[in-house]
Symmetry: C2
Subunit: 363 residues, 2 copies
C-alpha cells in the first residue's frame, strides 16, 4: 500500500486501481497532448471522441457483446434509471415486473409502482433480504414489459449466481455493484445499467449497456433528456457529458483488460471473498454472516459481531490499522467489507487477519 493511503472497504464511492489513479494524476494538466486537461477539453474534440469510443469498445469487448448492443453514458445514477425505465418501457398494459432482493431493487420497483405501472415478481424481503429469490420463486408475468433485477445487493451482501429464465420477457438488471466483476452471459440481458462508483470509476456517470432495439425509439411524450433515444442517436453527446468521469471509466475498463479481463477479475474476487467468508465460517458464530451461503456476494461481505459495542470497537480498531469503511449499512447493522475489483488481496488478507486477531482478543 502507498504511504498515507488506507485500504478502503467503502461500498461506493469505492477504492479505484492505484495505477489508474496515478496515470490520471500524471496527465491531469494535459490530456493526450491536447494542451488541455481532460476537465477542460471540448466534448466535440477529436481527442475526446477517440477516448469515448475506446471506452465503449473496451466495455463491450469485456462483456463479449456484439453490434446489437450499445453503450450509453448517462447521469443521475441508478436512482434516475429507476424512473427512466418504466417511463420509457412500461405501461398499464405491459407493466414493469420487479424482483425484490434488497433496498435498491425495492426503490426501483417503487418508482414504477408510483407511476402505476409496476408489479412484483418475487421478494425476499421477509427475513431481511438474506437470499436471492430462486427461479422457482419467480412468478413471471408473460405480459410484462420487462423483468427487473438488482444483480448484487450492496447493503445485504447478496448476489445472483444464476440468470433467471424470464420466459421470453426482456431481462433488465441494475448491476451497479458487480458490473465487470466476473464473466456473465450478458447477452441474456436486454438492458443493463450501473452507477459506476463501485467497480468502474468515480461517481457521476451512469453506464447503460442495452440492446439497440430498446434504445433507438422512445415514447414521443417524454422530455428530451428522459429518452434513451436521445442518448443513443447522439452517442451520449446530445448535451455535455461528464467527460472526466467517462474518461476514468475508460481507464478502469482498460485496466481490467490489461489485468486479464473478467475471468481474472472473477478469480481474484473469489479468492478475496473466500478469505473473508472463511474467517466468518471458522469463527464459531463470533462473526455471523447476513447473507445465506448460496446467495453470498463476491463484492460485499456483510456480517455481525456479538454486540453493537464490539462492532463499534471493531470499526475503530480497524481504521487504526488502515482498514477503512467497514461499517455496515444502518438497515443491516454490523460490518460490511466491500471488495470490488480494485481492492487487492493484500488488503483483504490484512482485514481477514485483523478479524482473526480481533476474535482472539474479544471472544
Amino acid at each position: 500500500m502507498e504511504a498515507n493511503r488506507i485500504y478502503n472497504f467503502n461500498p461506493g464511492p469505492a477504492t479505484l486501481p492505484l495505477p489508474v489513479l496515478k496515470e490520471a494524476q500524471a496527465e491531469f494538466l494535459n490530456f493526450r497532448g491536447s494542451g488541455m486537461s481532460i476537465l477542460e477539453i471540448s466534448h466535440r474534440a477529436k481527442e475526446y471522441a477517440a477516448m469515448q469510443a475506446e471506452a465503449k469498445a473496451d466495455i463491450k469487448e469485456l462483456m463479449g457483446l456484439g453490434d446489437d448492443y450499445e453503450v450509453l453514458f448517462m447521469t443521475g445514477g441508478a436512482s434516475t434509471q429507476f424512473a427512466f425505465l418504466p417511463l420509457n418501457f412500461a405501461s398499464k398494459e405491459h407493466p414493469g415486473s420487479y424482483v425484490l432482493s434488497g433496498s435498491f431493487a425495492e426503490k426501483a420497483y417503487k418508482e414504477a409502482e408510483h407511476l402505476g405501472i409496476g408489479e412484483i415478481v418475487a421478494s425476499s424481503k421477509e427475513g431481511g433480504y438474506r437470499h436471492i429469490p430462486t427461479q422457482d420463486e419467480l412468478k413471471i408475468d408473460e405480459n410484462a414489459a420487462y423483468v427487473h433485477l438488482c444483480y448484487n445487493n450492496t447493503i445485504y451482501g447478496t448476489e445472483y449466481h444464476y440468470i433467471p429464465d424470464t420466459k421470453g420477457v426482456p431481462l433488465f438488471a441494475d448491476m451497479s455493484s458487480d458490473m465487470l466483476s466476473r464473466p456473465i452471459d450478458f447477452s441474456k440481458f436486454d438492458f443493463i445499467y450501473a452507477g459506476v462508483q463501485k467497480n468502474l470509476g468515480p461517481a457521476g456517470v451512469t453506464l447503460v449497456v442495452a440492446k439497440k432495439s430498446f434504445l433507438e425509439k422512445s415514447p414521443e411524450k417524454l422530455p428530451t433528456m428522459f429518452k434513451y433515444e436521445t442518448f443513443f442517436k447522439k452517442d451520449s453527446l446530445y448535451n455535455t457529458p461528464p467527460a472526466f468521469n467517462i474518461y476514468m471509466v475508460g481507464k478502469v475498463a482498460a485496466w481490467i483488460k490489461s489485468e486479464g479481463g473478467l475471468a481474472e477479475m472473477a478469480k481474484r474476487n473469489k479468492k478475496k471473498a473466500d478469505r473473508l467468508y472463511g474467517v466468518i465460517d471458522a469463527s464459531n458464530g463470533f462473526y455471523r454472516g447476513h447473507a445465506e451461503k448460496e446467495s453470498r456476494s463476491f463484492m460485499n461481505v456483510t456480517f455481525r459481531l456479538p454486540s453493537e459495542e464490539l462492532e463499534k470497537t471493531f470499526v475503530a480498531e480497524a481504521l487504526a490499522q488502515g482498514l477503512g469503511g467497514v461499517k455496515g449499512h444502518r438497515s443491516v447493522g454490523g460490518m460490511r467489507a466491500s471488495i470490488y475489483n480494485a481492492m487487492t488481496y493484500e488488503g483483504v488478507d490484512k482485514l481477514a487477519s485483523f478479524m482473526e486477531d480481533f476474535q482472539k482478543t474479544h471472544a
Copy 2:
C-alpha cells in the same frame, strides 16, 4: 502559460484556473488526509461533508445570498433542468413563460411547450439572436409560474445587462455560461441554475441556487429524482452525488474568493472583453461582431471574417500559435472566443494581437 498547455477558448468544457488544477493534481491520491482519493471517498464521510458544506457556503457568500436560498448539486446539465422546471413548477393554469434569446433559451422553452405548459414572453430570434430582448419587449403574463431567461447566450455571444422587471412573477435564469462572472443582484432571482462546465468546474454537476420556498415541496406525482424536494431535504445526498465534480466546483469558488470575488472577476472579464471587442471595432469591418453592441457578452465574443476560407485559415493559424477552440458554433459560423473567469488577460491579449496581425496579413 505552462509548457505544453494551450490557451483554451472553448465554450465549455472550458479552461479552468491552473492553480486549481495543480492543487487537485497534488492531492489526487489523498483527499484531506483521508487516505483516499476524492474519487474514492464515501459521500457519507465527514471529510466529504465538510468539503460540500464549504463549497455551498462559498457560493452563497460570493452571490451575497442569505438563509432563504439553498444550493443544490444535481446532474444532467441545464438540458435536464429544462424539463424539471416545468414539471416542478408549471401547469396549464400557470404556464412557464420564456424569453427566447438564443438556442438554449429556445430549448428550455421547447421542453415546457412539449408538456403543453410553456409560453413565449419575447424573442429575438428574428435577425439571428443578435440582441437580448429589452424590458419593453417583454409581454409579461402575470399568471405565469415563472419567467425564464438564459442570462448569457454562449452560441450568439449575447448577455443580459439588466435584470428584467417581471411584475412579481418569479424570475428563473439559466446562468450556465456567466455564473459567478460578475456581481449581480442575485436576490432578484428566485431560481438560478448552471451547468458548471464553463465558469465553475468540470462537466458533470449542475448547480442550483434557489429560494428555499421553491425547493421544499415538489409535486407528489413526480419520480423521486425529478423533485427538487428530494435534493433539498437530503442536502443533495439522496443518492451518490458526483463527488469529484462538486469538489472541483468548490475549489473554483474558493479560488474566485481568494482572487477578490465577483467584483474582481468582473473587472478582469471586462478588460478581456474590451480588448477583443476593441480589435473588432477597430478593424474597419474585417471582423464583424455577431452581437449588437448593447447586448455583447463578457464571456463569449463572436465574430465573422470576410470569408469562410479566411475563417478556416484563422482557426488553423491560431491553433498553431497555441490559441485553441476559437471556431464558432455552426449556427452562427465564424469565430467565438470564450473568455470565462479562468482565461487570463495574457491569453486574451495574445489572441487580440494575433487578430491584429492576421488582419494585416489577410486584409
